[in-house]
């Protein structure tokens, strides 16, 4: 068998200049637009991974991580005008602050230590322009990442100094008084050391919103005036030299609450939440041998949340609710290919949650309603092996042991994937695994007695998921890929908020058992001219096993269409996006399915260093709503109509 065969001369359709005929000096001056790379062995990953790059973010005018995830196969997003919530494969539990997704920034856990929240809205710690790539790995990730990698892992890879090469600035202006400014500087020195700094400030006044549920003369006829405001500042500092890299980030986000959630007084200008987070990560990569690499990292993080809620007890009183969480930890990971045919990954991770503080008090007169201080430890060890059974047949198997001091629970989560490369073009995968989520401090210890209050439940246990998935990937050419998968997820001991009939208080309990199954289809295509298409369809059904009822906020159909293409002869690129979310059940009834279309036109080189983009979101001004949660009077919360954004960037 000859494995190196001659590629037949392909009739090339590019009408552009013959680049290979140009002198190399001239090649060095040409500006390049990067094509979407069907990156790094996605076909051999033990999961059907979705990848989005900075080029896609620019082409489609995405503003938050939620916008990015919304475009991916099988994912959908809900927004209650305070936070953004992610749903996957038919699961989006009301009141869940994305605790069933693990959010990684450059491989470091970003979920906080009180809520285990994954921040994907404007409260996300980084400016979107600092993102180089976003990967979503669906399925259970606990076998390597531990807790919270329940429905999937979101991995955000940030830019490096070399990606900027000098100062950059950008300004944005958009609907509802949105404006943003960013200044960044990135550098790589000849010795290979690089660093990056970025600071940005964002503000949106927000629209006045009408809620029919509050349409009485006493409550401003249902209009929440100037309460959908949003303000955020982000800071990032990153450096790398030799084997070392350090990053430091800080963000503060203030969001008005227009919905009068948690039984507040409607239309009080003081209602808001403030989310502040910071982290420092230092990591060291040591090449022990040609076939062994050891990565060690140290991390520290904090997440402070404060909510200003207004209640008419009477008298009208300002109530402060909040949490402080701080943690530090270390992880070591060894990757080795020393044993022929095996790729071994092993590691250990410890995290000390040294502050898990929850509080609630009335400002004036001062009444403390909750002051709960805790600490805790998490510990995990894992091992994964990818070994070649025979050419074209890979077995990826791994397990992780986790222990959490807050519940005394320990848990072992395995995952196994059999990957069969049937031909150069076609790969079959069979995957099975489990994952867990330990109850967070909020579910365990939050207690505020009194009418409409909530009580703690320190006896909560971890919830678990078991998944099975079959998928096939077919690459008819390196520029085209078809992915199809069938999955089944079974969740047991699901932590659910319920009302105790004995005292009328809300409490979290390990109640339900739920099952979801479905299919997903995706087609990706890149053309030589620079056009890229990614389109997918998902059908899914998620049910409560006990009652047989369909789950709330679980659309049966999802469809996505993302096409970005150069506008011929102009240097502009257009990004057209359409997505469909089927009808979803709400707590009281249902909210209709909807199609949403966005359009972005961008020029990466209007003049040297100057780039411009113009976006219209909800192009056809469709009216649609997302399901509300237990804390809302509104059963469904209406989303924005047509809005626009103009963004101007300059690289000096």
């Amino acid at each position: 068998m000859t494995s190196a065969f001659v590629i037949p001369g392909i009739a090339r359709s590019t009408a552009g200049p013959d680049l290979a005929g140009l002198p190399i000096e001239q090649l060095l001056t040409l500006e390049v637009y990067s094509a979407s790379k069907f990156t790094q062995k996605v076909s051999e990953a033990p999961s059907a991974v979705s990848v989005v790059t900075a080029a896609d973010i620019r082409a489609f005018g995405w503003r938050t991580v939620a916008d990015i995830l919304r475009s991916m196969r099988g994912l959908y997003v809900s927004n209650d005008r305070n936070y953004a919530y992610l749903g996957a494969r038919g699961f989006l539990r009301p009141g869940d602050y994305n605790t069933r997704f693990l959010l990684l920034v450059d491989g470091n856990r970003n979920n906080d230590a009180v809520f285990d929240q994954a921040s994907i809205g404007t409260e996300f710690v980084l400016d979107i322009d600092m993102i180089e790539r976003v990967e979503f790995v669906p399925g259970p990730g606990s076998s390597i990442y531990g807790a919270n990698a329940f429905f999937g892992v979101i991995n955000i890879i940030t830019k490096n100094g070399r990606d900027l090469s000098g100062p950059q600035a950008s300004v944005e202006y958009g609907s509802h008084g949105m404006r943003e400014a960013r200044a960044s500087y990135g550098m790589r020195h000849d010795g290979g050391a690089e660093w990056l700094f970025s600071a940005s400030s964002y503000r949106e006044d927000g629209p006045d919103l009408y809620f029919p549920e509050f349409d009485t003369p006493a409550t401003n006829n249902g209009v929440a005036r100037r309460l959908d405001h949003d303000r955020a500042q982000n800071l990032l500092l990153k450096g790398a030299a030799g084997a070392w890299s350090v990053s430091l980030a800080h963000s503060e986000r203030t969001k008005g609450i227009p919905t009068a959630s948690y039984s507040q007084t409607f239309n009080d200008p003081r209602a808001r939440t403030v989310d502040i987070q910071s982290f420092v990560d230092a990591s060291h990569r040591a090449q022990l041998a040609a076939d062994a690499q050891l990565t060690t990292r140290l991390f520290w993080g904090r997440y402070d949340y404060t909510g200003d809620y207004v209640y008419d007890y009477p008298p009208l009183t300002l109530n402060h609710d909040g949490s402080h969480s701080s943690w530090w930890g270390a992880e070591s990971r060894l990757v080795t290919t020393r044993i022929a045919g095996h790729k071994l990954v092993m590691g250990a991770e410890v995290q000390r949650d040294y502050r898990r503080h929850q509080f609630n008090f009335d400002a004036d007169p001062f009444v403390s309603r909750l002051d709960d201080r805790r600490a805790g430890n998490r510990f995990g060890v894992y091992l994964q092996d990818e070994f070649t059974l025979r050419p074209g047949l890979l077995l990826n198997a791994g397990a992780r042991y986790d222990r959490s001091s807050s519940t005394g629970d320990s848990s072992v989560n395995p995952r196994v994937a059999l990957i069969h490369k049937a031909s150069e073009a076609t790969t079959y995968k069979a995957m099975a695994g489990t994952a867990f989520r330990a109850p967070n401090a909020y579910e365990l210890y939050y207690e505020m007695l009194g009418t409409g209050g909530q009580k703690s439940n320190p006896g909560l246990k971890a919830e678990r998921i078991r998944t099975q998935e079959l998928s096939v990937e077919h690459a008819a050419s390196p520029e085209s890929r078809l992915t199809a998968s069938v999955f089944r997820n079974t969740v047991s001991n699901l932590i659910t908020q319920t009302t105790d009939p004995a005292d009328g208080l809300l409490v979290f309990r390990n109640l339900n058992r739920a099952r979801a199954y479905g299919i997903e289809l995706e087609w990706e295509r890149a053309w030589t001219g620079g056009a890229r298409l990614r389109t997918s369809y998902s059908w899914q059904r998620a049910k409560d096993v006990g009652s047989g009822a369909l789950l709330v906020n679980s659309p049966r159909h999802l469809a996505k269409f993302n096409l970005s293409a150069p506008v011929p002869g102009t240097g502009w690129r257009s990004g057209a996006e359409a997505s469909y979310v089927g009808r979803r059940g709400t707590l009281q009834g249902e909210t209709g399915g909807y199609w949403l279309a966005n359009l972005t036109l961008s020029a990466i080189r209007l003049a040297p260093g100057l780039e411009l983009s113009a976006s219209i979101y909800n192009l056809f001004d469709r009216r649609y709503a997302d399901p509300g949660s237990e804390e809302h009077v509104q059963d469904a919360i209406v989303q924005n109509g047509r809005t626009f954004r103009l963004k101007l960037g300059y690289a000096f």
Partner: protein
């Protein structure tokens, strides 16, 4: 769809947008596709490299090898009709590694990460010009590493790896490289 887009744009951004659209762009080349540009670099590297006199050219061709899964496959295939120092270029798929030594130029990227260690072993000082286009493989033994810096393609040269392969890179190439080790 685009009609509505333009109409809304006109209404919402008024005078600003047309003014920007009319900015003169004197003598500005449009951005070019990354893969085609990188393939052109690979061709130029071959032009400015001297292979040892005992190099074998089966069938008289200069062979450029690429992983069949590489995104650059098509762009490199476009070099098939070109010539380097009187020899016709032949772009070949390198699926397994048993024919590694038939390559004169070997292009590797993210698709080759897992087998890079084996490739290096298999080459063992053979006169093959290795060109990498991957952060992870980077300088780890490849002679030329491609990269993108400020939207332009750049390359770094490792002269020690070149010496081991008994290849002589022209001084022009070394002068134009971003870094020379």
């Amino acid at each position: 769809m685009s009609g509505l887009f333009i109409a809304t744009l006109r209404r919402t951004v008024g005078r600003l947008m047309p003014a920007l659209l009319l900015l003169p762009l004197p003598g500005m080349a449009e951005p070019v596709p990354e893969y085609e540009l990188k393939a052109a670099f690979v061709y130029n590297f071959a032009l400015f490299t001297e292979w040892p006199s005992d190099t074998a050219y089966e069938g008289g061709t200069l062979n450029i090898c690429v992983n069949p899964g590489s995104a650059l496959r098509h762009a490199l295939a476009g070099l098939n009709e070109k010539a380097v120092k009187g020899r016709r270029v032949s772009v070949r798929h390198l699926a397994a590694l048993d024919t590694l030594r038939a390559c004169h130029v070997l292009f590797v990227d993210g698709n080759d990460r897992e087998r890079w260690v084996q490739i290096k072993k298999g080459l063992g000082g053979a006169s093959v010009l290795t060109v990498s286009d991957d952060d992870e493989i980077g300088h780890d033994g490849s002679i030329i590493a491609l990269g993108v810096d400020n939207k332009r393609v750049v390359f770094d040269v490792d002269t020690r790896a070149a010496r081991q392969a008994r290849l002589v890179l022209s001084s022009k190439l070394l002068r134009l490289a971003r870094t020379v080790q």
